[in-house]
Structures are given as structure tokens and as C-alpha cells.
């Protein structure tokens, strides 16, 4: 199925891809536009904070996460309402405080809280799941230069698994885009 070639380093290790370092958000932004226009699919920009507007420079679609979160949140709110309804009006009907026997209004606060609780859980866990996290290790995290992205460096990494990947041409593309250094990343 794979049309991609497996590249090896001189030491015989598989190549994960190429990693290019950039100095500023502006350089990274313009370089990302060039990589996008070259038609790459398996590549990513690594930055200490989300660069403003980078999703357009990278040509990324909007995330589907909100749909998942809304679906789970609303479902759980309905389930919470249903549970309270069962408890209060079916399993053990209780009439007190002068409230009507079928007063659904008093179920609203707990329904709301349950909806919020599950929305929050889905937002966090869904974000991690969409990102393929938690993950103990990644080829990039072995690179000393890459670890500085958590401080003040900007990295564009192109994976060797991309069909358009070519060690020389991709390196040239990244260098021409203004990279201050380009390194091979071992898998």
C-alpha cells in the first residue's frame, strides 16, 4: 500500500524526517506557507505557543472536536435529566414542599451541572485523543535542538513517510524557506 520509500541513515537507522529550525514566528509563518504550497501532507510546525493564523499558513481544516464535545455534553445532560426523572417521579415519587408532582423545573440545576461536567471531561480527553496523546516518546523528542521549542525555537518537521519527501529536495525547500539549520531525525 505504501508508495513511500524507507530512508536509512548512515548508521542504518530509519529516518523519521527532516527538522528545520527557524528564528522568529514570522520566518516560521512564511516557511509554513512554502511547505504547504509544495503539497506536503505529513508535516508539522512546532512552536512554544500557537502562532497567530498559522492554521491558514499550513492549510489545516478546522477541528471536529467541538462536535464531539457537544454531542457528549448534551447526551449526558439528557441522561442526567432522565435519571433524576426516574428517581423522583417513577421509582420513588415524593411529594413535598408544596411542589407539584410533575415539577420538572426542579431537575434543571443538576441536569445543567451534569452536562457541564461531561462537557469538560470530553473537552480535555477528546483533545488528548484527537492529538494521539498521552504518548511516552516521539522521535523528535530525542533531538536536543527540538527540545528548545518548548522555550523559544520554531521548528518545521517534514516526515519521510510523506509521498513527496525527498532528502535533498526537501532539505533545499526548507533551507530556501529561511531555515537556520536542517537536521535528519532518526526514527
Amino acid at each position: 500500500m505504501s508508495t513511500t520509500k524507507i530512508y536509512k541513515t548512515e548508521a542504518g537507522k530509519n529516518v523519521y524526517g527532516l527538522m528545520a529550525e527557524f528564528k522568529t514566528p514570522a520566518d516560521t509563518y512564511h516557511a509554513a506557507e512554502k511547505v504547504r504550497d509544495a503539497g506536503f501532507g505529513k508535516w508539522d510546525v512546532y512552536s512554544p505557543f500557537p502562532i497567530h493564523g498559522i492554521e491558514e499558513a499550513m492549510g489545516l481544516p478546522a477541528t471536529k472536536l467541538p462536535l464531539v464535545v457537544a454531542a457528549v455534553g448534551l447526551t449526558m445532560a439528557c441522561a442526567g435529566f432522565g435519571f433524576q426523572y426516574f428517581v423522583r417521579f417513577i421509582d420513588y415519587p415524593l411529594i413535598h414542599q408544596g411542589k407539584p408532582a410533575d415539577a420538572w423545573q426542579l431537575l434543571v440545576p443538576v441536569t445543567f451541572e451534569i452536562g457541564v461536567l461531561f462537557t469538560a471531561f470530553t473537552a480535555l480527553l477528546g483533545m488528548l485523543a484527537f492529538n494521539g496523546l498521552p504518548r511516552w516518546h516521539h522521535p523528535l523528542l530525542a533531538k536536543e535542538r527540538f527540545l528548545r521549542t518548548s522555550d523559544d525555537r520554531f521548528i518545521i518537521a517534514v516526515e519521510a513517510a510523506d509521498p513527496k519527501f525527498n532528502p535533498e529536495a526537501t532539505r533545499k525547500l526548507l533551507t530556501d524557506a529561511g531555515a537556520t539549520s536542517v537536521e535528519v531525525v532518526e526514527d
Binding site: T28, F49, L60, L65, R88, L94, L106, L117, D152
Partner: protein
């Protein structure tokens, strides 16, 4: 004003290419540290001292890696000793019974619920800063949100203890939750007390998730720095006795907490979306929590409690008291942690003083409105509660209130003291802000005491009137909860990132993709859309987003 209009050198410094000059920034009589700019055309800088991204990382991680200084251990020792009062008095309470408090048949809620409402209210400011200000795109929140969220969690921990132990038979507290049990009855979903259980536990969990999610990138930064130190030198500081290198422990622990975060843009997009959704649900949540807390009182028929203004009045009061607590924590932090003054500027403090003034006015309005409604409804019981249980001192009128001092303490702390913030000099003066915050915190405790105890101690039948006086256990439990709060906050300052580094970096001028450090003085704001034409250079364009 070189701080907001970078020249060639400043631009290089901001890009991390050269080190900042060692001299401290001079204080300007007009703009203080440079952040108190009055001109609306100039955006006040959010980070001072010409900091680069690396400076922010070094400052924030430095507090954890190098330790906060000599003051920390004694402070922690004192705070945790005081905190020890809390478990001691709780154990004594559980093995003896709630009779160890000063409660009696008339005043059956007193300091326990006062402390509960006090602490839960304090938590609300943290959520306001992290969620509501996030939705309103208030960028100045980025340097105070982490500390405020931490404060929320710790305040909710203190708050949750009080209803937990006041139920009497603590070992039956699981019956608060709708769990099938041998009695074949369920918890009462019509009761605001049960709503409270759901609201407060949801609030605690959601605040924790929000706090944790904000810290994931910062944990990754700490992990990467520890990993870099491990790569660079084979030797490093080790723990005593067990002989494990501290950097290895940090890389492992922060790595575990960072769940493999690697600052990928594809991840950031999901992250930012999840963050804004959490902010979106936390905003109605924080309003609902204190509304539901106020329902505990408002749905009863007791004069002084039975009031429809309670939900908004409680929410405003919670934010009011919470901001005071944020300031009480951050003003000393600014002095104790080097470099923090560049991140929490005087503008931040002034903004918070303005919020205290606004919410203080809301609270004052609510106090006045309670009186108006009592008079307007001509309900004799309600009029009597306000006049003879609260306002008129018993030394003036024999029918007057024995608790008049609590009421007047509340009014002078909550309504009168924030009025000094109408004056610019006052709200820009750090000692004044600190003193007012202290008064507001005291006043907000008295507010809950006034609402709870002065309404209860004399209700409908004079035959059942009584007084409440706290016992030593009441006092020890409250003082202990303050100690617990401070202990947890000190642990936070020692082991967790006190600032959201990635968020601060994002609001710095050089974070904009339109910031060009190679053109001297050409610091464009981040307000342009990608591809939009560059604005003509205006000399007053602050270069800030």
C-alpha cells in the same frame, strides 16, 4: 518609551539574540513601571523589561528549578503548622460530635457554613479570570490566570471540607450522592442542598481539569529543560540518601504530567479549541455554583434569607472577595519572586482594583436593595430582621441587634473601603490595594456571618431566640483552613509553573507573525489578519497585540 517602541537593539533583544541590559527600568512618575499608560492609543505592555521568550521561560522555570529562596521553607513550616489545626479539630469533631461547635437549637448553621460560603466565593475569582476574561479576550489575564486558578482549587478544597464535616455523621456522607442503598430511598433532587453537592463537586472537578489542561505545555517545558540538562552534563545535583538525580525525577514527573506534549501546531489547534470550550462551560458554571449556594438560603422562608436578589448578589460578592484574595497572594509574590514584577505589572494590579471597585458597588447596591424591598413589601418580619437584627446597635435601642458590630464591619469593609479606588493615586498605590484587599476579605467573611447568624438567631418566635458564640474548635477549624490554603499555595509556588508561559509568550509583541525584528522600529501589532496589508508606521503603535 523604549519599553513599548523597540528600536534596533530592543528588537534584537526581544528576539532573544542579545541579552537585556542589566540596569533596572527606571520608574516614570506618569507611567510607573511603564504599564500605567493613560493614552488610549497606546496599549500598555503586558510584559516589561524588554523580555525575550527565553527570559520568560527562565524566570518561570527558575522558581521551580532553583527554588524560590530562603524565605520559602520557614513560611512553609509556619503555614503547614497552622494547617495542622484543621485535621486535629476535624478528628476531635468526628470522635465527639458537632456539639464541639458553638451551634445550638436556634443557630444551627454558623461558622461552618460561613466558612464554606467564604471559601467557595474566593474560588470564583480564579474561574472569572481564567474563563470569563478568556472569552472577553482580555490579554492581561495571561500573567495572573495560573495563580488565580490554583487559588480556586485550594479554596474549593477548604470549602468542601466544611459541609463535609458539618453533616454530623461523616461516615454517612456518601448518602449525599444518589447511590442505591438499603433504605431504598434516593437523595432529594428537589433540595438546593443536593444541587449544592452537584454544583460544588462539578465546580471542583472542572476547575481542576481547566487548571491541568493549561499546565500541560508548561509541564512539557519543564520536562524538556530537565531532559536538556541530562543530555548536557552527566553529573548533577542528587537527592540525599537515595542518590537519584533531581533532573531525572523532574524529567520523569513533569514528563508524566505533560502526557507527551510536543508543541505541535496540529495539537495546538485542538488544544486552543478545547480551552475555549472549557472557558465557555466554566463561565455559566461559575455563575451557577454561587447561585445554587445562595438557593440554600433563598428557598427557605427565613426572613433575611428569603430574597430573590440572592443569586446575583452572591455571585458579585464572590468575585469581589475572590479578587481581593488574588491580590493578597500576588502582591507579596511580586516582592518575593525576582522578575515577577515584569510579568505582573502595576497595570494588572490597577485592573484588579477596578474590578474590586465595580463588584464592590454591586454588592453595596444589593445591600441597599434588600432594605428597599423590606420596606417596599412592608413585611414586618423582614423589616425587623434588617433593622433590629443587623443595623441598630443594642446600646442605642434595647430591641437592637447584639450583632451590630458584624453588620457594620461588613459595611465599612465591603462598601466604604473600596471607594478609595475612585482615585487614581489610590488604585495605583500597591500598599493601598493590599490594605483594601485585606479589608474586603475580612468584610466578605463578615457578610456571610451576618447573613447566616443574624438571620437565624432571632426569627419568628421570640421564645426561641438565642445567641451564637464560637468555641475554640470553631476558631481552630477556620484558622486551620487558612493555613491549609496557604500551605497548598506555597507548594504550588515551589513545584508548579506559576505563570502560563505559552500564553504569556503569545501576547508578547514579537509573537506576532508580522513582527519584523530586522526592520528597526517596525513593530506591527498582531491585530492584522495574515496576508493583510501592513499598517503605515505610527510612532505610537505599541507593537503589542
Amino acid at each position: 518609551m523604549s519599553a513599548i517602541q523597540p528600536d534596533q537593539t530592543a528588537a534584537q533583544r526581544l528576539a532573544g539574540l542579545i541579552k537585556p541590559p542589566p540596569s533596572p527600568p527606571e520608574m516614570n512618575p506618569q507611567t510607573g513601571d511603564g504599564s500605567l499608560v493613560d493614552d488610549p492609543a497606546i496599549r500598555a505592555p503586558l510584559v516589561l523589561g524588554g523580555r525575550s521568550f527565553n527570559d520568560v521561560t527562565e524566570t518561570v522555570c527558575g522558581y521551580i528549578e532553583k527554588g524560590p529562596g530562603r524565605w520559602w521553607l520557614p513560611a512553609f513550616g509556619i503555614a503547614s503548622s497552622v494547617a495542622g489545626l484543621m485535621p486535629l479539630s476535624i478528628i476531635y469533631l468526628i470522635i465527639t460530635g458537632v456539639g464541639v461547635w458553638g451551634l445550638n437549637n436556634r443557630v444551627d448553621w454558623a461558622w461552618d457554613i460561613t466558612n464554606f460560603v467564604f471559601w467557595i466565593g474566593i474560588g470564583h475569582a480564579g474561574t472569572l479570570i481564567s474563563a470569563i476574561l478568556c472569552l472577553f479576550k482580555q490579554k492581561w489575564r495571561t500573567s495572573i490566570n495560573r495563580a488565580a486558578e490554583a487559588m480556586t482549587i485550594f479554596a474549593v478544597i477548604c470549602a468542601g471540607t466544611f459541609p463535609g464535616v458539618h453533616v454530623g455523621r461523616v461516615w454517612m456522607a456518601w448518602m449525599l450522592f444518589p447511590i442505591p442503598n438499603a433504605n431504598n430511598i434516593w437523595s432529594n433532587f428537589a433540595s438546593p442542598l443536593l444541587w449544592d453537592v452537584f454544583a460544588v463537586s462539578t465546580y471542583a472537578i472542572v476547575s481542576l481539569l481547566f487548571w491541568y489542561m493549561g499546565m500541560i505545555p508548561d509541564f512539557a517545558t519543564l520536562r524538556d529543560r530537565a531532559a536538556l540538562r541530562l543530555m548536557k552534563s552527566p553529573e548533577g545535583q542528587t537527592l540525599p540518601i537515595v542518590n537519584i538525580r533531581i533532573d531525572r525525577i523532574m524529567a520523569f514527573t513533569y514528563g508524566l504530567l505533560a502526557v507527551g506534549w510536543r508543541f505541535s501546531t496540529r495539537h495546538w489547534l485542538n488544544y486552543e479549541k478545547a480551552y475555549i470550550m472549557l472557558a465557555g462551560v466554566s463561565t455559566p458554571l461559575v455563575l451557577s455554583v454561587h447561585s445554587i449556594v445562595s438557593f440554600d438560603f433563598a428557598t427557605s422562608i427565613l426572613p433575611g434569607w428569603h430574597t430573590t436578589i440572592f443569586p446575583p448578589y452572591f455571585v458579585a460578592g464572590a468575585i469581589f472577595g475572590g479578587f481581593a484574595m488574588v491580590l493578597l497572594l500576588l502582591i507579596p509574590s511580586r516582592e518575593l519572586f525576582p522578575g515577577m514584577k515584569d510579568l505582573i505589572t502595576r497595570r494588572h494590579l490597577e485592573n484588579m482594583a477596578k474590578i474590586i471597585l465595580t463588584t464592590g458597588m454591586m454588592v453595596g447596591f444589593a445591600y441597599a436593595m434588600e432594605f428597599f424591598i423590606a420596606w417596599f413589601s412592608q413585611n414586618q418580619y423582614e423589616i425587623d430582621v434588617f433593622l433590629y437584627n443587623r443595623v441598630i446597635p443594642d446600646f442605642i435601642d434595647p430591641r437592637g441587634a447584639p450583632y451590630w458590630w458584624a453588620y457594620w464591619a461588613m459595611i465599612s469593609c465591603n462598601v466604604l473601603s473600596p471607594q478609595v479606588f475612585w482615585f487614581k493615586k489610590m488604585r495605583q498605590s500597591i500598599p493601598v490595594i493590599f490594605v483594601v484587599s485585606l479589608l474586603v476579605t475580612i468584610g466578605m467573611w463578615f457578610e456571610r456571618f451576618v447573613i447566616i447568624v443574624t438571620s437565624l438567631h432571632r426569627a419568628f418566635l421570640p421564645g426561641s431566640w438565642g445567641m451564637f458564640s464560637p468555641t475554640l474548635i470553631d476558631i481552630a477549624l477556620f484558622v486551620g483552613s487558612c493555613g491549609t490554603f496557604l500551605t497548598l499555595y506555597l507548594l504550588f509556588t515551589r513545584f508548579l509553573p506559576q505563570f502560563a508561559m505559552s500564553e504569556i509568550k503569545n501576547v508578547m509583541p514579537q509573537a506576532s507573525p508580522h513582527f519584523h525584528d530586522d526592520h528597526a522600529g517596525q513593530a506591527h501589532g498582531a491585530g492584522h489578519l495574515p496576508g493583510a496589508h501592513h499598517a503605515p508606521e505610527a510612532p505610537t503603535n505599541g507593537g503589542n497585540p
